[in-house]
Symmetry: C3
């Protein structure tokens, strides 16, 4: 059911990015060229979390305690990425969270488990959780929690939510009244896709993103000015529906005003961080327009040159950190100093300074002629 | 009692900094301008830890299980920042450490709780603690500790200090002899303000910093060459007094020589890191003097341009990390490679290289004329 | 037995590095000069982990509860670095892992203890462990583990390895069959030195590196093109032997194919990260050749200028992170976004851009003449 593999591997834009990050570089005669990649690197980098495509390449014979036996020789193995494509074509790996053999609900409910893929700096969810009040209480009181009870009773089995509590678990009141239905569709309670590329946007309607395309033909659910492509994302009404499912969880401990004001701040932060990404995008556009680096207008890779990388870091690390800090009430640091607004604004300034440097050097060349 | 709100919001220099980090930027016609800020951003960034000003804006009516009821409509809510200004004008939020409802002493004594506001990179106290011997032993043995006993018996209730043990708790020997009186004035046992702006300096006398001003008229307890402003900071005698209160805690487990040598290293590190900040300040002064960026001499914001940001990062992240690593015997990494001396010296070199680049580009322009 | 002190302090190249990082800088008349260092800084930075040389300077008299007593006055104390040189000339400090007094095997077996010296960014072993499946399971199930049983029974006493399990402990099957002999020679089960300077290379034969020298006369076990110096490092056969000792541990839980494919990925990552370091080294060589910075050809410090620092960061932080992530199956983030391949490739591009900038500014100067 998880589409993390295809959403990465079949997206031409994301493949441009992966190529820049994972492929082999060669420096020769003053030039740096990006060459081929290799699957072993992919397996332990992007696909470590997104999941590999596991295929039977053939059979191998091994000596065992029971004599010679044949074993399938697997490509893409081992892997526990959530979007793994299994040899039978099925999608997903339960073992991402419910580790093998024990298939433990306890492990899946404990937040350290989620840190395997959600620690950052691109998705600092676990880091933010750790410094949040929820994380603080969890750290102190977890030995008093009951991590195996199903359904999970808020306030009885646990007194601070873990990742699973807010995003997945079947939650009931101490009296057994259902607060949130169990889901393994992790956006059921989410109205926004915080980790948008390059802007946060309403959550996609379909988890399979293969048809997503914007007006410029890019495989993105947003335009380059930040406008979501309505056709592929939740409507305001659907966002509200998802958000209400999340709020039902919040309201088991917090007052209406607390919860409303929390999400008002998140909406504001989505708006302001997207706005910052947009300013960065405008500077990058001027850099492309001046021909200082080659990107969209030139039909070239938009991730491989210096300011393109600076731009990427703004939305991938800094804007995301600020948004995760906001979404999970995770403290001042991830909102400001730990890859937050401090770095966003510093990088924006450096981006412009680099454009100015490109121009100054260009003028010099012209003077020389 | 906590003055974290006013010390930030009423300090014009800090507000210049906040503006640069939190306000909205607009890129238009090749220029980047810093516009207005917004309170929702402040609430979840700086004021998240410093505390908000909570005010009753009016009343709102809500449907409840008990019929329609009126509720106060609060500005700046929710917030658990330690310097929160409450609707009745009182200062402080106990819930920063003693989380709501349970008002737990156990939670307040566990170091993960402190990480909400003291993780870094500006104040990496918790990170340093984690890798210190104290933190190592805590991680291994905490399930054997007694976190609720009052007074707290050193060596009986716990065998490695947590943040609270050194900074706040009433500590007694196993026989009940008082080692340290309880305090919630967190500088009672501190002789230095490690997180100085921009230099570490003897701790301020008064927690309320509104009157602090240096000879240049800046609201700082130090001059720009690192000299503390005697009037506002502890005298050598007062520093000794505070330090002796801390040493009494150390001496419950460590020998005299151990403790003396520890603080000798800290004094040295305060001296050497301040010295590095001073070299950076001198480079920045040359940049200002050359008119390459506009700061103090021009009466402009000293935080908003490229090398001003580089300078800020030196003292705010790197010098602080080295000092916290020293103060808490927290391992080589935070003293060197994790935002420590490695980054300090690298940044100092880059700062000078940027000055040279400014000069090279200026000469070019002159040649062109 | 541990040679961490001498391997650092007696290596002239490493001392060049330490000098750049730890010594005092002075900015005067537009020049930044590196002055003297001081031992107090060394004690709490590099030597914190490597170990200090503890020496008796004399005797001091102190008032005690038992009257006046004489105590040795120690230089380099306190310290628990693993390579500590003790006053009697013996090497090593058990208390690095087995903390003082309790001499606890439990503490030494728990991974947080190792974080004191192996957290990063140069050696992010603990960070990688935390987000690995091993670390996830440890976090969830450690309260069910038996940390004091000797020998340590795999699957009975613990169900996920800690650092000690893979690198040091005497491991047996539930039936008591020996899987791995106890060792305190931490490379017994290691075929590679991942943290190579500047390339990962087969583990050195002798823990004492004082005789190591490459064909250029540098005290390194590799040439500057990445080729190991055969004389000083394990042969392929010896590597296999060490690796087999490690694999025996892996195979207690994992299948042959799982284990073989894991190490195939690690070999590939060592190859590709070394290859990246080599491209960076070639760019730096061109920078030296152009005289833009002064390094090997000029017989000067190779760590003190801007691109020399950028080059250092590539192998010291980024290549190492990718390798540790690979070695410990530690998730996508440390392989990619958290000081991994994302930063490697970005830095490589910046390194070349800086060379281009140097050239552009040089041409300008020539035009001016």
């Amino acid at each position: 059911m998880a589409h993390a593999y295809g959403n990465l591997v079949d997206n031409t834009l994301y493949q441009d990015f992966t190529k820049v990050v994972n492929n082999h570089y060669t420096y020769e005669k003053g030039q740096l060229t990006i060459g081929e990649g290799d699957m072993l690197t992919e397996y332990e980098s992007c696909l470590y979390c997104h999941g590999t495509k596991v295929e039977v390449k053939g059979l191998v014979t091994r000596d065992t305690d029971y004599g010679e036996l044949e074993f399938p020789d697997l490509e893409g193995w081992p892997n526990q990425g959530v979007g793994r494509i299994n040899p039978d074509g099925s999608l997903g790996a339960c073992s991402s969270c419910h580790t093998r053999h024990s298939f433990s609900i306890e492990i899946a409910r404990k937040p350290s488990t989620c840190s395997e893929c959600h620690k950052g700096p691109d998705v600092p969810a676990y880091k933010v959780y750790e410094v949040s009040k929820h994380g603080n209480i969890y750290q102190s009181k977890m030995s008093d929690f009951n991590f195996t009870e199903v359904p999970w009773r808020v306030g009885t089995d646990f007194t601070a939510p873990t990742c699973a509590a807010c995003h997945a678990s079947l939650l009931v009141s101490p009296e057994g009244e259902v607060i949130a239905e169990r889901t393994h569709q992790y956006n059921d309670r989410l109205s926004w896709r915080l980790f948008g590329v390059p802007y946060a946007h309403p959550h996609p309607i379909d988890a399979n993103l293969e048809k997503v395309v914007n007006s410029q033909g890019l495989p993105l659910a947003v335009e380059l000015n930040g406008e979501p492509v309505a056709e592929f994302v939740l409507s305001k009404e659907q966002q509200l529906e998802n958000n209400n499912r999340m709020k039902a969880v919040c309201l088991t401990c917090h007052s209406t005003q607390w919860v409303e004001n929390h999400f008002k701040r998140l909406d504001n932060t989505i708006h302001t961080t997207n706005r910052m990404t947009y300013q960065a995008t405008k500077i990058l556009s001027d850099i492309w327009a001046g021909g200082f680096e080659k990107g969209l207008p030139q039909g070239e890779n938009i991730f491989d040159e210096q300011t393109e990388r600076m731009w990427t870091t703004i939305w991938l690390f800094y804007a995301n950190s600020s948004r995760f800090a906001s979404a999970m009430a995770g403290g001042g640091d991830y909102a400001v100093f730990a890859n937050g607004r401090y770095q966003t604004t510093e990088q924006l300034r450096k981006l412009l300074d680099q454009l100015k440097l490109y121009r100054a050097l260009e003028e010099k060349e012209e003077v020389e002629k």
